[in-house]
Assembly symmetry: D2
Homo-oligomer: 479 residues x 4
Amino acid sequence: MSPKARSKRGTKAAKAWDGRFQEPTDPLVEIFTNSLESDLQMAAQDIRGSVAHVHGLERAGLLTSRETARIVRGLGRVAKEIRDGTFRAKASDEDVHMAVERRLTELVGPVGGKVHTGRSRNDQVATDVRLWLRDEIDSATEDLATLTRALLQRARTDLDVVVPGYTHLQRAQPVLLSHHWLAYAEMLERDRDRLADTRKRVNVLPLGAGALSGAGFRLNRRAVARELGFEAVTENSLDAVSDRDFIVEFLSAASLIAMHLSRLSEEIVLWSSDEFGFLKLPDAFATGSSMMPQKKNPDVAELVRGRTGRVYGALVTILTTLKGLPLAYNRDLQEDKPPLFDAARTIRGCLAVLAKMLPKLEVQKARMRDAAGGFSLATELADYLVERGLPFRQAHTVVGRVVGFCVENDRDLSSLTTAELKLFSPDFEPSARRRLSIDTAIGRRSLVGGTARGNVERRIKELERSVDGGGRRRPQKRG
Amino acid sequence: MSPKARSKRGTKAAKAWDGRFQEPTDPLVEIFTNSLESDLQMAAQDIRGSVAHVHGLERAGLLTSRETARIVRGLGRVAKEIRDGTFRAKASDEDVHMAVERRLTELVGPVGGKVHTGRSRNDQVATDVRLWLRDEIDSATEDLATLTRALLQRARTDLDVVVPGYTHLQRAQPVLLSHHWLAYAEMLERDRDRLADTRKRVNVLPLGAGALSGAGFRLNRRAVARELGFEAVTENSLDAVSDRDFIVEFLSAASLIAMHLSRLSEEIVLWSSDEFGFLKLPDAFATGSSMMPQKKNPDVAELVRGRTGRVYGALVTILTTLKGLPLAYNRDLQEDKPPLFDAARTIRGCLAVLAKMLPKLEVQKARMRDAAGGFSLATELADYLVERGLPFRQAHTVVGRVVGFCVENDRDLSSLTTAELKLFSPDFEPSARRRLSIDTAIGRRSLVGGTARGNVERRIKELERSVDGGGRRRPQKRG
Amino acid sequence: MSPKARSKRGTKAAKAWDGRFQEPTDPLVEIFTNSLESDLQMAAQDIRGSVAHVHGLERAGLLTSRETARIVRGLGRVAKEIRDGTFRAKASDEDVHMAVERRLTELVGPVGGKVHTGRSRNDQVATDVRLWLRDEIDSATEDLATLTRALLQRARTDLDVVVPGYTHLQRAQPVLLSHHWLAYAEMLERDRDRLADTRKRVNVLPLGAGALSGAGFRLNRRAVARELGFEAVTENSLDAVSDRDFIVEFLSAASLIAMHLSRLSEEIVLWSSDEFGFLKLPDAFATGSSMMPQKKNPDVAELVRGRTGRVYGALVTILTTLKGLPLAYNRDLQEDKPPLFDAARTIRGCLAVLAKMLPKLEVQKARMRDAAGGFSLATELADYLVERGLPFRQAHTVVGRVVGFCVENDRDLSSLTTAELKLFSPDFEPSARRRLSIDTAIGRRSLVGGTARGNVERRIKELERSVDGGGRRRPQKRG
Amino acid sequence: MSPKARSKRGTKAAKAWDGRFQEPTDPLVEIFTNSLESDLQMAAQDIRGSVAHVHGLERAGLLTSRETARIVRGLGRVAKEIRDGTFRAKASDEDVHMAVERRLTELVGPVGGKVHTGRSRNDQVATDVRLWLRDEIDSATEDLATLTRALLQRARTDLDVVVPGYTHLQRAQPVLLSHHWLAYAEMLERDRDRLADTRKRVNVLPLGAGALSGAGFRLNRRAVARELGFEAVTENSLDAVSDRDFIVEFLSAASLIAMHLSRLSEEIVLWSSDEFGFLKLPDAFATGSSMMPQKKNPDVAELVRGRTGRVYGALVTILTTLKGLPLAYNRDLQEDKPPLFDAARTIRGCLAVLAKMLPKLEVQKARMRDAAGGFSLATELADYLVERGLPFRQAHTVVGRVVGFCVENDRDLSSLTTAELKLFSPDFEPSARRRLSIDTAIGRRSLVGGTARGNVERRIKELERSVDGGGRRRPQKRG
């Protein structure tokens, strides 16, 4: 084609980039490469980013204030269409960025084509996804706080409930049910900590990196960062357009959240079984069976547990995609959004439904207490002997034999007389039998972190403050 | 068995726990459950933890100062045996904790059995692995700094080398080779940041949590924490013995490190191919072929890239193991160490070998520069038109046609006359052709993060300070 | 509630299971547990399964032929509505099964409630997903065949093109480009093999397993299996409702397909770089840059490579979900479909787009041949010496020195005189220099599997037969 | 270096490939690239492969029969040294292949250098790992059979034991305990099927592919294949040296095995809890607590469950490593062996320990039966109404109300009079109450796959035949 013929095609290309192309894109390729289905949900962020960019162009003298106003107004109208649901993407829109710009140009004319000055989709999409994720982290942090509040509320309510503490799913030592709920609150605190750490690395502006080497105009990136609430700007343009660490970090934090919820859910499933009988599920949070009329199933907890896979899978997806990519931007990176969006939606849904279900669980207090005694108090006897000077290993062995004797003869620990105890060790005195009390056992765990009531109440208060007052949630603050 | 018969077995049990057991453990079970092969490498940490615990027991009045001194001395001897390689584990030692205590008791007599007072293996192993990982994080942080220094040294050396910047592995725009090296330095900075964040959550003392409900004695946990350099103590005993979040966090940070190294390695492989010809590998860092005498292979880079799988696999391992476990300790958690140890060793090995190889790479400066020009300067023409007021989208289309014309007619951009350029757009003036210079193109990228030399030199200095001076490496500091 | 009051609620429950429930399901729970968004795509399979089940009920005397006809007709109408796009799911439909049955009952009245006799959603969903996956495996097998055909066509076309064979991305020995294409055809053959193996384990009927213990009626399951084209029936009801092995198997086979395509894509990316210059992408299968007018990017190949992560992630998702679930059905299993559906769609899309792109690649024959000679012929010299009796290890060392000499002195192998060669080994004769020919080197690889033309042509024919004739594609058939 | 100087270095190179190298390998690189620690366990396979290769060289006239005999004898001696444990690898041995060849040459002199004629490490290692894996598959298949036999033995023993069948971990319907064991036997049958399918693709000879393009000599590869028991030879040399599909396939099959064992282990953990009380663990297969003398923990089952992570991780490792590698051999592939070896060892250990533990489990028959009745018989009432013509959906609703009434009034289903039942539906007759029997409920599940005793006994016999007689274990055979 001659320069003439080329020019005849007019200056308005159908695609953002097809100036040098002579053949149209294959329709199958259009569908295959299109990301609109997934990235349309970043439209609000895309527009916010464009507004700040346009202000930057104005500051740099690349747009007049009139052009700026016109474009910003246009972007505002596009944003409104999106909010109202009247925005219509076209099949030819490759992605959310082109959809927005195409609509902008329809609304404001060719000046819309100036919005992309000094910008590439490479730094634009990185900016959008960081804005999107920052919002999402803030929402997920609030969701974590909401579930923590539900746990703290349960902890307040259940302060006089005793439950067996388990190791290896064997009854081990009695604990306050509140202490058990607080264990999950601690996990969620760490989850909020991690999100806060991740947020710092998310909240850095890549715009200005251009395609890969930096924009060719002297834009004031720090001013743009301030306008968009970013705490810093990226310092290397090649890195800026190819960095997806922050997505991996978020998905790793999300995997830990999912893992924690899978543990809580496993316990809800176990505890609402007939065999445990520790919890009754309210009808509103259980489902039935299409075949068995008697069933009341803990589906919510099961689904939360099952969806752990989804979040782990998202993490593996992005890690796989990033492996071995040379610098800088590669189209593979487009695949960062589906796992990110899906995982974020998944954990937020799980957090919300658990927060609503938790207060409705009916705790079967008597059944829990019945299960908490018996051999779970054996450690008390060993500690008793230790206080009398026996090395712990020997005390452990002595009490092991006491337990073996009871099991063999179908006796309870509490049924043993002092005389019988003395057969195992002369150090047993009548006071030993007084140690075989659930409440004494719990009360003795009053060192920091132990299950004694005073501890638990103090910790509830601290966590309430943490979850409400915001502030830093650092381990060292707890120490 | 009667109490008598039971007592006859003596107070010295063969295992730490077999008081109530009548049958010996099946030999296959002994092998299957034994963790010594893996956890022996935590012996030093186990002993440090025990020394601090013994001091804690003394403070609590559970050990006399004489007993304390005797045990601490004994632990010192065990530590020495381990350092000297004279320590011999026995088949009956289930794990490193029992091996150390068994040997201690051999050395100091039955008082050795007092070391486990107020402690369970559950809080003990959690303490050991946190101590081990804290050490490892510090070493890995230093390894990251070492590799960063190697990158910064390269960046200083290669300041006058120009290389094509790539997107989609297509030449895109010229950049300074130093800018390219710095992209990796930025990644490693974030890696150090992440390790620093993880370290805070690692550096919390679980000892005192006992088996799950807290030790039955009033131990001063904060004093123990201070002695061991922990910044805080865990606040919930159930959580303390079942929390392995910090391992997931570390493996996630390690996966990002591995991913970064896989990208660098991919580029070393590409660049040392005949086709690129950008790098020559020194003989000392290449290997040959057993069949083809001419081969000089970038095996080191390939292995670094390949070992990414190992680190990702470790992350999946621990995430899988943790999914759905009820509280508190479960034996599944023993499986936390093999992936942790393997991944830590893997990334440290990769960091070390790359740091040593990087300074030896022979940069083929001329070849790089030759590849950096040509159509990679097309953006310059588009920016030129934008400066003359053309909306970017139109400028892009115009230059696309210029490029298409050149490709079709086998012409270089720089060979076009102003007259020819004007056929595509009247806005082209003679000054346009002066823009087709690599050095001009690079020089114009002087906004923050751009590839202009001034920027790059400034950033080298900042990173040198960061990597040497230590200090906080927070994004906001860069902003 | 009294029996009376309960009965007053009428016999028509809103949900499939809420007879014993007194509180309505929480709206958040309804949304959280709903699977319609995902499983509606199994509607056709659900209806096919129901038709066969209804025939089974008729055979067992549980439905009259009139009832049967009425229900089957109703199901046909629902199927038609779905095909036509006039089917409307309701918010209260929990899943595709309830949506279909609800609509059926609207169409045929209460007799619709008989379709679920002797069936549970547990065996129903297992049946549906097996039917769906069987269809999908057949389609994916055809997609694999289509891509294989494209590779074979390329292999026919490129029979006289020579390309460097690489190891470690270093030029190693020359091969026919056709041989290179065939390597991928071999991979796809194995992929078809694996799908065929998986299909056998997919194609087993679980219907009749009921909720978990077997239906309470004597249904002839083999007859239902025959009607639905299943080769076998499940032999254990507990296993039947909880088995998702076949999904893991499929996703594992899909992961291998994705991995193969990632390798092919990596090569397309490399080969279409300026540095390799082996391939030109047609405009219709490349995309441009929004910033750099000169770019022509291999986005399709990059996206195929990037989507590997998505398929791997799906595999990890389902493996995670299944870990540690007790028998039999658990709601976690609902999470089997999103990863399955997404991965199947992903690999099918990738196969289709590559099959369409492959014939359009413009092979740069001269450039490939230029790259294929040189030191890649060094092995020929070593083999030459071996034929003269030198042990291979020595021959290798000798030729290594010859190469070292050439590199140092910037000489080509082919420029060496016999006299020069003799300085390295007296066994070199003038005939040695004749071995330094690309065509000779290729021709000598005529053992089975070697790159000699005869081999390649034979293998093309065999694979053409395999891919067209269908039939078993077993390794032993090739041996 | 001149040809002379080069030749002075002698013809015996220290490494297999260093003819053209002038600098020695960096010691860190030697350690980093060395694979001996991992691949030494393939020594026997390496030697078997070499013997067959040497026979092939003899047939091709490349070795005299005398040389052949000498080398084969030498290889035999190396094999013996390895078996006897007297073999000593040297630090300079890069891998098992070089260690064996180095020792061979020490034993037989320079003729040892002929063993590598027409072979590259690329095809050699592929051959070794296939031989190793074939052996391992055969052993794992036998281990699966052993565990299946243990399950079948339990199934025979427990034929009169009734246990609640669970869905959602809620009691659902009673089943025979034998039926429950058989569910796992079915899973293991599929596992053996999968290994058999995988074995076919493992059992293909790559030797002869050379470095990548085929050996340069006309070797009779089929004869070598026959000698080594391979069913086929690879048909494309590029594919042959880069194919690791068979490792992924095996690790995927291993992941399914691990997943199955994790489910069985989860149930052993649950069932041996105090709450379930269904199983007592023998002392020989339980372990105690270092702190709590009463504990008897199901550590074996927990570790089996926990090690699932290890096997999944291995699968992710190899998938990650393979992603995006260009053809043909790349050093990344060295990383195939650690995950393969570790996962194979892990599943074999798990299978063995479970097979030994299963027969020792003490089933608490009375407790199981007590748990199996009650509301688990509700389905029986619904089926009863269906037989009387009520549509299933209505029958389900009616019985749901009956259950709701019982729960509310703390009544058993079996305590309801016919008159009471009639309040819910007039279709209830006195015969309804006879349906509320565990044995009747089980007996009615006599369709194929149901839990009725006749079915279970038949299936035990079939599986016994399958596991003993070997033969094909295809789903269609069961149908």
